[in-house]
């Protein structure tokens, strides 16, 4: 029996100990009319060999592509050591570290992670992680409203924040009566303009969300935005790419006082793209907000002999104690992802992280230069970028992407669905993983496709639902 070690003799001895005639007798408290007949709709069992063959064939059929999408999930080199270490059974199969004395490995690792994230973002404290960057932003919005003691339930969110993040925040706060006001962006430069915000300060708001870089890859005027928010009695919430912080100013240093809360997705720190997850969300904040922080926190303490050790702390904020009044319903952190991120950051170090950020920046600049040299490709925005940029194409974006795919290239993310005014625009990203040859291959294929520009072959209809 797969994963069940019982021999017939064991079963007989155990039933005798219980005083039950058979296994069915163990379910005698379940009303007979509720008992189901069986699981005929579930396919029969496969051996490990058979299921391996099945999934390997599916994976190979899916294939691999030369990827130029970023849009919130980024391809980076991951040192081999990261997942060999994180995959150790002692991390992989451990439970949440409630029994601290038996979980010092996980607990110290999270404490190290918290320290790294606090330093990276320039804030005082970090929690032990949330589900992903989008849910971390939702929790930050709720936290800002709580910190304001409910005096206002309005939060300002620039349109340059990742559209999926905005959708997740909307779904998470809707039922608590929180209003999200969307701020416009400069269609020429591609970032939020402080000058355009005064109208939004007419009514009080609990927080301003500040993305850096923003969804278009463009750098926001973060100092001015942070100061503006705080001058208007709002908390400043940064949403950042952690790799960019190897190069860019830490949110704790933005403006006069630094932001109050910083969140983001930790995926670029050692987590594969993985078709969408698991990733992890990080959250750091000022010390003064610690009791409003959702999720687990690891703190240092001492044992009976005065030896340093680590425990989960401030648990009374959490759902298992505070129940309906908890800071959040969140229970899990993305523990294993955090383990990988801590190992990844330790392997890169300050110089390594900076050189990854610089190389990704340089690659995207180089790709942008080559693409915009082609006829029919122009930059969508003039603002400075980190490692991602929007370009406008003369041909329909969906057709271009389909043609690139046929050449084994995933050419970028179409912006039109979320930004109708950018229906002709494509968001592209070339991290440090891309070589000069990769950039050339993309450029040549795009040149060929744009040069072709004829209608699709007669009779061909793109599948209606596939866009």
């Amino acid at each position: 029996m797969p994963f069940i070690p019982h021999t017939p003799a064991d079963v007989a001895a155990m039933l005798a100990s219980i005083g039950a005639a058979d296994l069915d007798a163990l379910f005698d408290e379940i009303p007979a009319e509720l008992r189901s007949a069986g699981l005929s709709d579930i396919p029969p069992a496969l051996s490990e060999m058979a299921v391996s063959r099945l999934l390997q064939e599916r994976a190979v059929a899916d294939g691999t592509y030369l990827n130029f999408i970023g849009a919130g999930a980024y391809e980076h080199h991951i040192p081999a050591a990261v997942w060999q270490l994180a995959g150790r059974g002692e991390y992989y199969t451990a439970y949440t570290p409630y029994q601290a004395e038996a979980s010092q490995g996980t607990l110290q690792l999270i404490y190290e992670y918290q320290t790294m994230m606090a330093r990276l973002t320039g804030l005082d404290i970090s929690n032990a992680s949330l589900y992903d960057g989008a849910t971390a932003l939702a929790e930050a919005v709720l936290m800002a409203v709580r910190a304001g003691k409910g005096t206002t339930r309005r939060v300002l969110v620039p349109a340059t924040v990742h559209p999926r993040y905005r959708a997740v925040v909307e779904a998470a706060v809707r039922d608590q009566g929180i209003e999200l006001a969307t701020l416009p962006y400069c269609t020429e430069c591609g970032h939020t303009l402080v000058a355009g915000l005064e109208a939004y300060a007419a009514r009080p708001a609990a927080a301003l969300v500040i993305p850096q870089p923003n969804f278009f890859g463009v750098l926001e005027p973060v100092d001015a935005l942070t100061d503006w928010a705080q001058a208007h009695g709002m908390l400043a919430i940064a949403v950042v790419n952690p790799v960019s912080l190897g190069l860019l100013k830490a949110p704790g240093q933005w403006g006069e006082k630094g932001v109050d809360i910083c969140v983001g997705d930790g995926q670029p720190l050692g987590i594969p793209l993985s078709s969408g997850g698991p990733y992890f969300g990080f959250m750091t904040c000022r010390q003064a907000l610690v009791r409003q922080m959702p999720g687990r926190l690891v703190g240092a303490t001492v044992d009976r002999d005065g030896r340093r050790g680590y425990v989960l702390t401030l648990q009374a904020r959490e759902q298992h104690i505070r129940r309906a009044k908890a800071t959040s319903n969140i229970c899990s952190n993305q523990g294993l992802m955090v383990a990988a991120a801590a190992m990844h950051l330790a392997l890169l170090g300050p110089q390594g992280l900076k050189s990854v950020a610089l190389a990704a920046h340089a690659n995207t600049r180089a790709l942008l230069d080559r693409l915009t040299a082609l006829p029919g490709v122009t930059r969508a925005f003039s603002g400075a970028i980190f490692h991602e940029a929007a370009v406008r194409l003369v041909s329909p974006v969906a057709d271009v992407l389909r043609a690139l795919r046929a050449q084994g290239i995933v050419g970028g993310h179409a912006l039109g669905r979320d930004y109708p005014e950018l229906a002709d625009a494509l968001l592209i990203c070339a991290t440090e993983t891309k070589t000069d040859d990769d950039l050339n291959r993309y450029t040549q294929q795009l040149e060929r496709i744009l040069g072709r520009r004829e209608a699709p072959p007669c009779g061909y209809k793109p599948p209606a639902m596939r866009t």
């Binding site: 155990m14 294993l336 995933v410």
Partner: protein, 481 residues
Amino acid sequence: MLIFEHSRPGRRAASQSPASPAAADDIPAELLRAEPPALPEVSEMDVVRHYTRLSQKNFSIDTQFYPLGSCTMKYNPRVCHSLAMLPQFLARHPLADPDTGQGFLRTLHELQEMLRALTGMAAVSLAPMAGAHGEFAGVAMIRAYHAARGDHGRNQIIVPDAAHGTNPASASKCGFTVREVPTDRRGNIDLDALRTAVGPQTAGLMLTNPSTLGVFEPSIAAIQEIMHAAGGLSYYDGANLNAILGRVRPGDMGFDVIHVNLHKTFSTPHGGGGPGAGPVGVSERLRPFLPIPYVVEERGYFRWAAEADCPQSIGRLSAFGGNMGVLLRAYVYARMLGGEGMRRVADYATLNANYLAAELARAGFDLAQPERRASHEFIVTLKRLKDATGVSAMDFAKRLLDYGFHAPTTYFPMLVPECLLIEPTETESKETLDAFVAAMAKVQEEARTDPDLVKAAPHTLPVRRLDDVRAARELDLAWPA
């Protein structure tokens, strides 16, 4: 030692990042970082040794038995990990066109369908990334359902007092108030109290069955009748699904919405606190409100459903759809079990729990529900031992660590004083259970003969009893730079 204490200025794992950094002179200087972040400066071997040594300070399923009630700590098959880590699955960008991931999407669709069949629900979404996330989605759907009918007065969710803390926390996160109903002496919901509690303000009921007290709620039909008569919906918390897999389906029990903890019932690893996954299943009337995305099939082509497909959806729960790697692991596990194997899960989890309960009772322990059949878990109360010796459930739990067993869940559910909630799961052998009974009996003996030994436990782990009061009073959440 911390990784920061290994750090030496100028040391690095040089092969892990680009060698010659380019310039970034097109970025305005005021946006650049003045000082590099104070990350550790260490060699690759420093990292490997440090994190290998740290791992050795952990208990884990691979090294220890975890009789941890309500957590279903079963064996995590290795192949689930290696297949979820196939390079093509790992390399795929979440926003890449579905053309590039038909095998992946087909796999998730099959998982959706298996979960649907297994739970008896009308439709399933894999979007929630944890049990509590599934609860949020489920309660949000209940809210959306009433709102869509213009029934705006329903602002209350009923939760039994024995429920997990996430239930009331999830209900409040959706803007509901929470009304608790008591549990009677046998561990069942007090039906009279439930009748009194429901009314035009009732949006729904959240129920775990078997309950957190480890017993099956036999009055489930009556409970559903009361809820339906009141116009409320019912939510099944799948925390204890392992107990009834293949025996009873939540859909057949009349529930409108459920979540399944894949990191419990489907054996995906706990990873020291996550990631998990908490897919939700719904009855027909809640289908329009399912969270997106979920996988749809159209004539053999698979893609994610999005906003345009389901305008009444409660929306997105994550940026990129969910914890895909966890879903793949659960899929592999489900395929290896097959229908018959799934039924055996409940059979042998229940056999192990009832055997352990019988043997512990023989060893002199007090069961909280001695007259009831255990489900996949049961409760021992140490109240008598504490009154006699001063040894608490916490002390007892810490001493078990010295004997190489992870402690059972302590002080939950809060209704039973000095309790240990014990769940052995189906993957443990009789020998392991017998060794655990022997350790429990030994600690009980020690509590009577040398209570201070137990109160001072653990004695053999990397640290002795940690001062969590000091941790909370003198917060130290990051290593000083």
